[in-house]
């Protein structure tokens, strides 16, 4: 094993990761901290007989996979990856729930969202396992036609800059499960924006990015999704890969990231080409000009997804398009989506969601006069949209930033 491989990186209990963990922040419970997880997942300092394996798996499963801890860890310990490995090693751990969720509902999210919306509450109460409650609420909020009304017209595209940078290189849009399913409108708007840039669109048939599958402890399914996506990209002539969901982007970047399966790509050069082809849609649009039309809210909040890249191009684009109208809490704050945790510990997920809304409130001040300035929050990640919808205070409006853009 190379000395620097992720498996070799051992937690030294320094606690540097404590700063960012939204679970610790929301609960004050150290056992939910990344350090607790790294301690339990790593070579144990404790008499193994005293730690029942199932308990360890259940506890370490309580992780939002937000990745904040790994960004802070000087040792390079990757807690979300450790947790995924533990889930994979404990097949009976609640991930069956998630597997069912993704494999049964995933391809039909559009339908599922409709179904969730239509199902009478009594039916949901009787037949839907309690754990599905929060996830269903998010899904309900996603149903087609429930998005934000558009109010922003793009007045000028940075066509020159785009051409200068990328020439004729074709662009493929990676839609992800939500943009392909219940919120197909995101994909439509994104395509219009790319056309506005003068980009040549390639349309490979992509699968799920695989990140939720990996986190849920389903490495085989994840590997399959990854292989399918790489094959589709290769077949389309290795186009630029534009994303509009932060988690999808991170999921795709992880194919060539530390600890990834080296066998996915033909060689290192191809892995590097993959990494270099990934670009957030918002980065391509940098320099665009826009005009706010009727229906534009006075204050627009921005929720920074944990998986956003360091430069956070979504925020940069939105602040240049919206000016002082756009506000965001200084410290950010995780929404608490956390994939599998929606099912394994929805109450914790909801608690993190509540503190996220509190910090949004300090920046937006909606709770002072909800009838005058109701909460209006944009973000750039499907998971965040779902979770913010599920945890939103009454009257709040939440959506992907693509939803505010007029399609003509």
């Amino acid at each position: 094993m190379p000395p620097d491989s992720p498996d070799r990186r051992e937690c030294v209990l320094c606690g540097c990761c404590l700063e960012g963990c939204p679970l610790l922040e929301a609960t004050g419970r150290e056992e939910l901290s990344p350090r607790a997880k790294a301690l339990l997942a790593g070579p144990s300092k404790f008499d193994a007989a005293r730690l029942a394996e199932g308990d360890v798996a259940a506890l370490t499963g309580l992780c939002l996979a937000c990745g904040r801890c790994e960004k802070l860890c000087p040792q390079g310990v990757q807690v979300p990856a450790l947790m995924a490995a533990m889930r994979a090693a404990h097949p009976d751990f609640r991930q069956w729930l998630w597997k069912q969720w993704i494999t049964r509902l995933g391809p039909y999210w559009s339908l599922a969202a409709k179904g969730a919306a239509l199902a009478p509450q009594a039916f949901v109460d009787t037949f839907v396992p309690a754990q599905f409650g929060l996830a269903l609420k998010g899904l309900k909020g996603l149903r087609p036609g429930n998005g934000l009304a558009p109010w922003l017209a793009i007045a000028a595209f940075p066509v020159q800059a785009f051409r200068a940078r990328y020439g004729d290189r074709p662009v493929a849009l990676f839609d992800g499960c939500v943009g392909r399913g219940p919120r197909a409108a995101w994909g439509e708007t994104a395509r219009l924006l790319l056309k506005g840039l003068g980009a040549h669109l390639a349309e490979p048939r992509f699968s799920c990015c695989g990140s939720t599958l990996g986190v849920a402890g389903l490495p085989q399914e994840q590997a399959q999704a990854r292989a399918e996506n790489i094959a589709a990209w290769r077949e389309a002539g290795r186009p630029l890969l534009a994303t509009y969901c932060a988690t999808c982007r991170k999921g795709l970047a992880d194919y060539a990231g530390p600890g990834a399966d080296g066998g996915l790509f033909a060689d290192e050069a191809e892995a590097a080409a993959w990494a270099a082809s990934l670009v957030p849609l918002s980065a391509l649009l940098e320099g665009a000009k826009a005009k706010a039309g009727r229906g534009a809210p006075a204050i627009v909040g921005y929720h920074r997804p944990c998986h956003a890249e360091a430069a956070d191009h979504d925020f940069r684009l939105l602040s240049s398009l919206l000016g002082p109208r756009l506000r965001t809490p200084a410290g950010g704050g995780c929404c608490g989506f956390g994939g599998v945790m929606q099912l394994s510990a929805p109450e914790l997920s909801a608690r993190v969601g509540a503190s996220c809304w509190e910090s949004l409130d300090t920046a937006l001040g909606f709770s002072a006069a909800p009838e005058v300035t109701p909460a209006y929050v944009l973000t750039g990640c499907s998971g965040c949209v779902m979770q913010l919808l599920a945890t939103a205070p009454r009257g709040a409006r939440v959506g992907h930033w693509l939803e505010i853009i007029r399609q003509k």
Binding site: E10, V12, L13, C14, G15, C16, L18, E19, T27, G28, R29, E30, E31, S33, R35, A36, L39, L40, K45, F46, D47, R50, L51, A52, D55, V56, A58, L59, P74, Q75
Partner: protein, 473 residues
């Protein structure tokens, strides 16, 4: 080290557990080993399994807990965020761990009295940010400020980089409200900045490592926020040049807010984690052998001039590179490098003994050169860095604990470092406290009379020896 009281129980009975369940309903009590494991460890990398973990929200719960614990002889270990470096929060002899993280309210910030009242679980950096909004300043800044708490800082008398100008946590504690074993509440000190009535009990609590009482409220002193600050980072080709540069700064009449140094091995380790601005090759000509990081603060108009004076003072030592930062946005990346050193040391080996000795300021050069020589002699990595301005030197002895020979040599190194420190008139710990990692060495430094006096004081506060047994002195 203190003798463990013989009256302590060796485990919890079902009746004990029933009591705890009653006092700490719901999430207030944890007894599952997997959940408790992390509460048994801290950044000293020592670990012991708690018998139970409780999370009080109120002072009343704390009073009841300590009344019961004394009556039953149950050891109690106060804990905040477990970032301590000497095992202070580790239940080395079992017991009930008391997590103070749910007592995390800032009760009052008063810009007229220049003081604040806080519960112990408030995270230090969050508190600093809060008072800063009111143009107030809480100077103590341990490198762990974003991850440790005010309660933990007071219990360890945490020092930080600003100590050279502003002093350490002790200098900012005006009052301590604590619950003692048996359930008595004491109020030591108060809101006044001066107070000479009676013995200084508040100071006695500072640095007491959770052995005298559990804090429920702290009254902290605040200063007006300086208008701005500036930072200089300079790399040198030899340790001697760096230390001479530092001396020149003081000779020029400049009192920096912070003055930190990193030796060659520390610089190398940081370079393994992050891109560094200094010439990074570990050996050879032009390589960095030491780095100084200095901060000055004051009025914005004076800072640019102050920076040039610092630069001038360092010029005689011919720095290999010199970076300047004016204002937090430019300064932060420079300080971030310094903060990374503690974890960076693990790039040299899997285990470390982290000592934080302090020597009289004039003996710093002798001390650092002596420590490095001890490492070379034993064939073990000895990394030195720290608070040059106040003589507090972090000495990290890096080794592989799986190798018995290295273990023995590391221990020999540590003892040689202690002996040299004491011979220079220094102290075994400037910041981290003695906890369990240094407890056995305390008699090297403190005489029998002094230790007897301390044991007597401990006996007055905690007659049955239930509070954090086996820690301290």
């Amino acid at each position: 080290m203190t003798q463990l009281a013989t009256s302590l129980v060796s485990g919890l009975t079902p009746a004990h557990l029933r009591f705890l369940e009653g006092l700490f309903p719901g999430e207030g009590l944890t007894v599952a080993p997997a959940e408790m494991a992390v509460y048994g460890a801290d950044s000293s990398r020592r670990a012991g399994m708690p018998w139970a973990v409780v999370r009080p929200r109120t002072e009343e719960q704390m009073v009841e807990l300590l009344r019961w614990a004394q009556a039953e002889g149950v050891p109690i270990v106060p804990r905040a965020r477990g970032t301590g470096m000497s095992g202070g929060a580790v239940p080395a002899f079992g017991g009930v761990v008391v997590s103070c993280l749910l007592m995390d309210t800032v009760l009052d910030v008063d810009s007229e009295d220049f003081c604040a009242e806080v519960e112990p679980g408030v995270v230090t950096a969050q508190f600093q940010a809060l008072v800063q909004k009111r143009k107030l300043f809480y100077p103590p800044d341990p490198a762990s400020l974003k991850i440790s708490t005010l309660g933990g800082n007071v219990a360890t008398c945490a020092g930080g980089m600003r100590a050279v100008k502003y002093g350490v946590t002790r200098d900012y504690v005006l009052g301590v409200r604590a619950v003692l074993p048996g359930g008595k509440i004491v109020n030591a000190g108060g809101r006044t900045h001066k107070n000479v009535v009676g013995l200084d009990l508040a100071r006695l609590f500072v640095g007491s490592c959770g052995t005298l009482g559990i804090f429920t409220k702290l009254t902290l002193k605040l200063l007006p926020l300086p208008e701005g600050s500036a930072t200089v980072l300079a790399a040198f080709g030899s340790l001697g040049e760096a230390l001479e540069g530092a001396r020149e700064v003081f000779r020029a009449g400049i009192l920096p807010t912070a003055m930190e140094f990193l030796d060659a091995k520390a610089c190398w380790g940081i370079g393994q984690i992050k891109d560094v601005p200094w010439p990074a090759s570990p050996d050879g000509e032009g390589a960095t052998k030491a780095v100084l990081v200095l901060k000055v603060d004051g009025s914005r108009s004076a800072l640019a001039a102050e920076l040039s004076r610092v630069e001038g003072a360092l010029a005689g030592s011919t720095p290999l590179c010199l970076l300047k930062g004016l204002g937090p946005a430019e300064e932060e990346p420079l300080w971030e490098l310094r903060r990374l050193v503690s974890p960076a040391v693990f790039r040299l080996g899997p285990d470390k003994l982290g000592e934080d000795v302090a020597v009289p300021r004039g003996r710093t050069v002798e001390a650092v050169e002596g420590f490095q020589a001890i490492g070379a002699e034993q064939g073990i990595h000895v990394v030195c860095y720290g608070h040059l301005g106040d003589g507090n030197i972090h000495v990290n002895i890096v080794y592989d604990a799986a190798d018995a020979d290295q273990r023995a040599r590391a221990k020999a190194c540590k003892e040689a470092v202690f002996r040299l420190t004491l011979s220079l008139g220094g102290t075994l710990s400037g910041e981290h406290g003695t906890g369990i990692t240094k407890g056995p060495y305390v008699p090297w430094q403190l005489g029998e009379e002094e230790r007897a006096l301390m044991a007597g004081i401990k006996g007055v506060f905690d007659p049955s020896g239930i509070l954090n047994p086996g820690k301290g002195w």
